[in-house]
């Protein structure tokens, strides 16, 4: 059992807004700040582009954790996008929690273009959290499991 836990590497999908968080991710690269390779970033113009469908899709296809990163509230490149993200994701995450899906599998974090260190730290922390939870079972699609 212990061995399994060690071996388990969760797949994390990170949606990053182009203007702040994607740049923050770039900065953590420029500064050579490590975070696990199982974090894969998808670039979106704004966190408000992320449809709940995308979050569920990631879980369906095998992700163990999904994180959205956007500009800090008040700093959105499009002025208001992340305010909508905040409401939408709060409600979505609350619903997932209500359905009994582990609440630690989802996260929203505001990361500015200057916060390369925060980006790496956030990813490291999120990976550690999801690793503790183990494989996503409650939102998996059995058909998509690797055989």
């Amino acid at each position: 059992m212990q061995v399994n836990e060690k071996e388990f590497k969760p797949l994390i999908v990170a949606f990053c807004c182009n203007w702040c968080s994607y740049a923050g991710a770039d900065l953590s690269g420029t500064n050579r700040l490590n975070y696990p390779a199982n974090v894969k970033i998808i670039r979106v113009p704004c966190s408000c582009r992320v449809n709940p469908m995308f979050v569920l899709r990631a879980f369906q296809r095998g992700a163990d954790g999904v994180i959205l990163c956007g500009c800090h509230p008040g700093d959105c490149h499009y002025t208001t996008g992340n305010y909508y993200t905040r409401r939408r994701m709060t409600l979505l995450f609350s619903m997932l929690d209500y359905l009994g899906i582990e609440r630690d599998r989802t996260r929203v974090e505001w990361v500015s273009a200057a916060e390369g260190a925060k980006f790496a730290a956030t990813m490291n922390d999120f990976v550690a959290t999801v690793t503790r939870l183990g494989e996503n079972k409650r939102l998996e699609d059995l058909r998509c499991k690797k055989q």
Binding site: D141, R143, C144, Q147
Partner: protein, 340 residues
């Protein structure tokens, strides 16, 4: 005819479950459904299950094959066919009759091998209805609930369950549990049958005018202006279709699993906008046409192709489940002409 004390019912079920997978109707959240037999769980006394018994042979979704992609190569994999023997216990006469209708579709050429495989592995034990309800009209289609059919028929009175095999498979099933059964005269269940017949005589839906649905009236019925009125409230959901024991339409879809394509089929409903979607869309563009299709199929096209057998068994599920109380009885009464 064999018999069993009702108090030994669970022993019988346990014995049946020993060698085969056994499904029985039980009550649970949401109503009665066929569920895997759990020792000690009483049989549902509900008139019928929410979903019909057709699921056993024609499940809502069924995998057909897989395509594997290796680089740019495509490999096809056959699915594993379910091969376990199973018994469905407590099927009502209406649902039992539906298998015969489904057989006409799936077992005539070209034979549907998926259906055929499941059919070959299943044994049906039917159960005479004790208390038919107001939504029942199976007798309109010549079904006799006191002779419920299947591989084994059963009846029950206050003390005993009576069993009679109708097929070799049924006989084999009873032989396997012979130690629990005692012999009974062929007339043993007559009281139970009589009671049921008496109840049937009082059902509110009687004498449905079905004579007018002959092939010769096809165009007249098809073009009848009353379809618009009959279908007006239809929400276009698939409830009637999915609870219906005789609806047999399905769609074949490919699902990209990320490491191959899973081809599967799943029930479809003629009520849906995407049903029989071709390059130009659904040939039936309005809900009136979709609604008409469903009943034309059940009442006109199917009998025309199947020696006059209607594709309805009068189970009454659509009467109970339609969100806006549309159903086949209303259509029959409106368009079936004068009762001969």
């Amino acid at each position: 005819m064999k018999s069993l004390l009702l108090k030994d019912m669970d022993r019988l079920l346990a014995a049946l479950a020993e060698n085969r997978t056994l499904y029985v109707p039980t009550d649970g959240a949401g109503g009665a459904e066929y569920r895997l037999y759990q020792p000690g769980t009483p049989l549902s006394e509900a008139l019928n299950t929410n979903r019909s018994a057709k699921d056993f042979f024609f499940p809502q979704t069924e995998n057909m094959m897989r395509f594997q992609m290796r680089g740019k190569e495509i490999r096809i994999e056959e699915p594993t066919r379910p091969d376990e023997d199973f018994v469905v216990f407590g099927v009502r006469a209406c649902d039992a009759r539906s298998f015969e209708l489904l057989d006409k579709v799936f077992l005539s050429e070209p034979v549907d091998s998926y259906y055929q495989n499941r059919r070959a592995h299943g044994v049906i034990v039917t159960r005479c209805c004790g208390r038919p309800e107001e939504t029942c009209f199976c007798t309109a289609f010549g079904i006799d609930p006191t002779a419920p059919g299947g591989d084994v028929s059963t009846w029950q009175d206050d003390q005993r369950l009576y069993l009679a095999a109708n097929t070799p498979a049924g006989q084999a099933l009873l032989n396997g549990v012979a130690h629990l059964l005692t012999d009974a005269p062929e007339t043993a269940a007559d009281d139970a049958k009589a009671k049921t017949r008496a109840a049937l005589a009082n059902l509110p839906i009687q004498n449905l005018p079905l004579d007018g649905f002959g092939e010769e009236n096809l165009l007249a019925i098809f073009n009848d202006p009353r379809w618009a009125e009959l279908s007006r409230a239809c929400l276009g959901c698939g409830t009637c279709t999915f609870v219906c024991p005789t609806c047999q339409c399905y769609d074949i879809k490919d699902f990209d699993t990320g490491h191959g394509i899973q081809r599967f089929r799943c029930w479809d409903s003629c009520m849906y906008s995407e049903f029989t979607r071709c390059a130009h869309g659904n040939p039936r563009v309005s809900q009136v046409e979709r609604f008409r299709q469903r009943f034309m199929h059940k009442l006109v096209y199917f009998p025309a192709n199947n020696q006059g057998d209607f594709s309805c068994v009068g189970c009454g599920r659509c009467l109970q489940k339609c969100p806006v109380s549309l159903n086949i009885v209303k259509v029959i009464k409106a368009l079936g002409g004068e009762k001969a």
